[in-house]
C-alpha cells in the first residue's frame, strides 16, 4: 500500500507522439538523402555533385551525437556536482562567485568560447568537447543552484528533524524536488551544444556541420540544405524528448 504511485505520471502514449515523429523523420531524411539525387540537382543546378560524399550522413550523425553525448555526460556530472557542492554548508563560500559566474558566463557567445578553445587546445574534436563542456556547464550549474535553493526550507528542516542524514536528504528530498529545474538546465545545455558542435566543423571536426560549411565554401546549396535539415531535425527531436521528460517530472510535484 505504500508503493509510491504518482497519479500524474499515468503513462500517456500521446506524449511520445511528437518526439517519435521527429525521430522517424530524422531517420528517414538521413536514409533518403543519398538517393535523392534528382531533388537536390534541382536545388543546385550548376553543381557537379549534389550529394555530400565525404562521409555518410549516418556517420556524421553518429559523430555529432557522440560529441554532444560525451559533453553532456561530463557537463551533467560536473554541473550537478558543482551545484550541490556550493549549496552545502562547507562549500557555501563559493556559492556567490559560482552563481555569478554561471549567469555571467552565459553572456559569452558560444562561438567565441569555441574560437578561444582552439588557440589553447588546437584543432580537432578535443577542443570542441572542452568548449562544449565549459559552456554547457553554465546552465546546468545555474539551474542546479536555483533548483536546490528553491526547495522549501521547511521541508529540509523537517527532514533533518525526522533524523535523515545529509546524504539521505540530498538524494531523497533535495535532488528529486529540484529535478524539474535541473532538467530544464540540461535541456538548455544540450540544445546549445548541438548547435555549437555543428560550428565545430569550422575547427576541423567532422560532424553534421561539415556539409553546411562545405556547401558555403563551394557555393553548393544542396550540401547546405542536407546538413541543415539533418541538424535541425536532430535538435528538434532531442528537444521534444526533453519536453516529454520534463512534463512527466513536473506532473509528480505540484
Amino acid at each position: 500500500m505504500t508503493r509510491p504511485v504518482h497519479p500524474g505520471s499515468a503513462y500517456q502514449p500521446t506524449q511520445l507522439l511528437w518526439p517519435m515523429m521527429w525521430l522517424v523523420l530524422l531517420v528517414v531524411v538521413v536514409l533518403v538523402i543519398p538517393h535523392a539525387q534528382g531533388l537536390f540537382q534541382w536545388l543546385a543546378p550548376e553543381a557537379r555533385e549534389v550529394i555530400y560524399q565525404r562521409a555518410a550522413f549516418t556517420q556524421l550523425l553518429g559523430r555529432h551525437l557522440l560529441v554532444v553525448g560525451a559533453a553532456a555526460l561530463m557537463t551533467i556530472t560536473l554541473g550537478v556536482l558543482a551545484g550541490v557542492v556550493v549549496t552545502r554548508q562547507w562549500g557555501r563560500d563559493f556559492l556567490p562567485l559560482v552563481a555569478q559566474v554561471a549567469s555571467l558566463g552565459q553572456t559569452f557567445p558560444p562561438v567565441a568560447v569555441l574560437a578561444l578553445a582552439v588557440p589553447a587546445l588546437g584543432f580537432g574534436t578535443v577542443p570542441i568537447i572542452v568548449a562544449l563542456v565549459l559552456y554547457g556547464l553554465l546552465p546546468i550549474v545555474r539551474n542546479t543552484i536555483a533548483g536546490l535553493k528553491g526547495v522549501d526550507p521547511a521541508v529540509v528542516s523537517a527532514a533533518y528533524g525526522m533524523g535523515m542524514t545529509p546524504g539521505q536528504i540530498l538524494r531523497q528530498v533535495e535532488l528529486p524536488l529540484a529535478a524539474p529545474v535541473i532538467l530544464a538546465g540540461i535541456r538548455t545545455s544540450v540544445t546549445i551544444n548541438i548547435a555549437t558542435a555543428a560550428l565545430g566543423a569550422t575547427v576541423g571536426a567532422s560532424n553534421l556541420g561539415d556539409p553546411i560549411i562545405a556547401g558555403i565554401v563551394n557555393a553548393n546549396n544542396a550540401y547546405i540544405v542536407q546538413g541543415a535539415m539533418v541538424i535541425a531535425l536532430l535538435a528538434v527531436s532531442v528537444d521534444s524528448m526533453f519536453e516529454v521528460f520534463q512534463r512527466r517530472l513536473r506532473s509528480r510535484t505540484p
Binding site: D93, L95, L97, V111, A120, S157, A228, M229, A232
Partner: protein
C-alpha cells in the same frame, strides 16, 4: 547542520570570521600558473607555431617575484580570519595592481625575448597569462560581491585598467601578435565592428517592434497562445548554422528567379538571411518577455486602478507599462546578447562583422586573428549585458520607489 543553523539569505551567505576559501584558491591557482605554465610564446612570423617561455625567462626572476608579491598578499589576507572591509579592500588593491603589472610584464618580455633583428618576430600571451587574467576577473567578481560594491564602481576600475592596457599596447607593445594583427587590418577591424553593431541593432530593433506586436496579438487571441509559443520555441531550438543554411537556399532561389527581389538586395549569401535568422531567433525572448511583462502585473493592482476611476488607456500607460518595463528590458537584454553571438556565426554566410576575423583566422590557422574577432565580441556582450542589466535594476528601483 546546513540550512538550519542559519538559512541562507539571498546570494550573500558567507560565514564571518572564517578564512576566505575562494580568494585563497584563486590566489593559489594564479601563483601555480605564474610559476608552472608558459607565460608568453614567441613566434618567428605569423603562421609558425610559437615556442613557449616560462615566466622567469620572460620577466626575469625579479619580475616573477614582483608579480608573486600581490598574490602572496592576497593569500595572506584571505587566510586571516578577520574579514574586515579594509582587508577586502587591500585584496582588491592587490588584484588591481596585478592587472596593471600584466601589460608591463608583456612589455618587458618583448624586450628580453624578441630579437630586434627579426621584424616578423612576434610575442603572444601564453597559458599562464590567460589563467591569471581569468582568475583575476573571478577575484574581482568575488570581491565586488563581498564588498557589496555598486557595478558602476567596478566598471570604472575596469575602464581605468583597460585604458592603461590600451596605452601600453599602442605605445610599447608593437611586438604583441594581437596588436600586429590589429595594425595590419585596422580599417577592416573598425568596419567589421560597425557592421557587427549595425546588424545587432537592426535585428534587436526589428524584433522589439515585432515582438511587442506579436505579444499584443497573442494577448488578444488567447487561443493562439500555445501554438504561437510552441512555434517560436521550435525556431529557437534549430541550431543557428542550420537556420542560416535553410534560409540561404530559398533566398538564393528567389534572387535568381525574381529580378525585383534581387534589385532590392535580397540574395542567398550576405546579410539578408543573417538578419532574417537573427530576427527569428530574437522573437522568442522578446515575445515571451513582453507577454510575461504584460501578464505579470498583479490583478489586484489593475483592480485598484480601475476602482480609482482610471480609463483603460490610463491604466495601460500609467500602470501596466511602468510595471512591465523592467521585464521588457530583460527581454531586450537577452535578445541583444544572443544577437551579438549569432551575428558572429552569420559571418560564415558572408554577412561580415567581427565573426569574419574568427573564421578567417581559423581557416588560416592564425590564432591571433581569431582573438582579434573573439575578444571584442566577448567584451561587447559583457558591456551590453551589464549596461542593460544596470538599467533594468535602476528601473526596478524607480518602480518600487513610487
Amino acid at each position: 547542520m546546513p540550512f538550519t543553523d542559519a538559512p541562507p539569505t539571498g546570494v550573500q551567505a558567507w560565514i564571518k570570521g572564517r578564512p576566505n576559501g575562494v580568494m585563497m584558491v584563486l590566489a593559489i591557482v594564479m601563483l601555480a600558473a605564474l610559476w608552472g605554465l608558459d607565460s608568453v610564446s614567441v613566434a618567428a612570423n605569423r603562421i609558425v607555431a610559437g615556442s613557449g617561455h616560462a615566466s622567469w625567462e620572460a620577466f626575469g626572476w625579479v619580475g616573477v617575484a614582483l608579480a608573486s608579491l600581490p598574490l602572496l598578499l592576497v593569500l595572506l589576507l584571505a587566510w586571516a580570519p578577520t574579514s574586515s572591509r579594509l582587508n577586502l579592500l587591500l585584496q582588491l588593491g592587490a588584484i588591481i595592481l596585478l592587472l596593471i603589472l600584466m601589460p608591463v610584464g608583456l612589455v618587458v618580455a618583448s624586450h628580453t625575448l624578441i630579437d630586434p633583428q627579426l621584424p616578423q618576430a612576434r610575442l603572444s600571451a601564453g597559458a599562464a597569462f590567460w589563467v591569471v587574467l581569468f582568475c583575476a576577473m573571478l577575484a574581482l567578481v568575488e570581491l565586488r560581491l563581498r564588498l557589496a560594491l555598486p557595478r558602476l564602481w567596478i566598471a570604472l576600475v575596469m575602464l581605468g585598467v583597460a585604458l592603461l592596457w590600451w596605452l601600453c599596447a599602442s605605445l610599447w607593445l608593437d611586438r604583441l601578435a594581437l596588436v600586429q594583427e590589429f595594425q595590419a587590418r585596422e580599417a577592416a577591424f573598425w568596419d567589421a565592428l560597425r557592421e557587427h553593431l549595425a546588424m545587432v541593432s537592426i535585428a534587436v530593433g526589428v524584433s522589439i517592434v515585432l515582438g511587442i506586436i506579436l505579444a499584443l496579438l497573442i494577448r488578444r487571441y488567447r487561443g493562439s497562445q500555445r501554438a504561437a509559443f510552441a512555434l517560436l520555441n521550435f525556431f529557437q531550438t534549430i541550431p543557428s548554422l542550420a537556420l542560416f543554411g535553410l534560409l540561404l537556399a530559398p533566398l538564393a532561389w528567389i534572387s535568381a528567379n525574381v529580378p525585383f527581389a534581387a534589385n532590392l538586395g535580397i540574395q542567398g549569401i550576405g546579410y539578408t538571411p543573417a538578419l532574417l535568422a537573427l530576427v527569428i531567433y530574437s522573437l522568442l525572448p522578446m515575445v515571451r518577455n513582453t507577454f510575461v511583462a504584460l501578464e505579470a502585473v498583479s490583478p489586484d493592482v489593475l483592480d485598484a486602478a480601475t476602482g480609482m476611476g482610471m480609463y483603460p488607456s490610463q491604466r495601460f500607460w500609467q500602470v501596466r507599462v511602468p510595471l512591465a518595463l523592467p521585464i521588457l528590458l530583460e527581454g531586450i537584454r537577452i535578445t541583444a546578447v544572443q544577437a551579438i553571438g549569432l551575428t558572429a556565426v552569420a559571418a560564415l554566410i558572408g554577412a561580415g562583422g567581427l565573426g569574419a576575423f574568427i573564421f578567417q583566422g581559423l581557416g588560416q590557422a592564425a590564432m591571433d586573428m581569431v582573438l582579434l574577432g573573439a575578444l571584442p565580441i566577448l567584451l561587447i556582450a559583457l558591456i551590453v549585458d551589464s549596461g542593460l542589466g544596470a538599467l533594468g535594476e535602476a528601473l526596478r528601483q524607480g518602480a518600487s520607489d513610487d
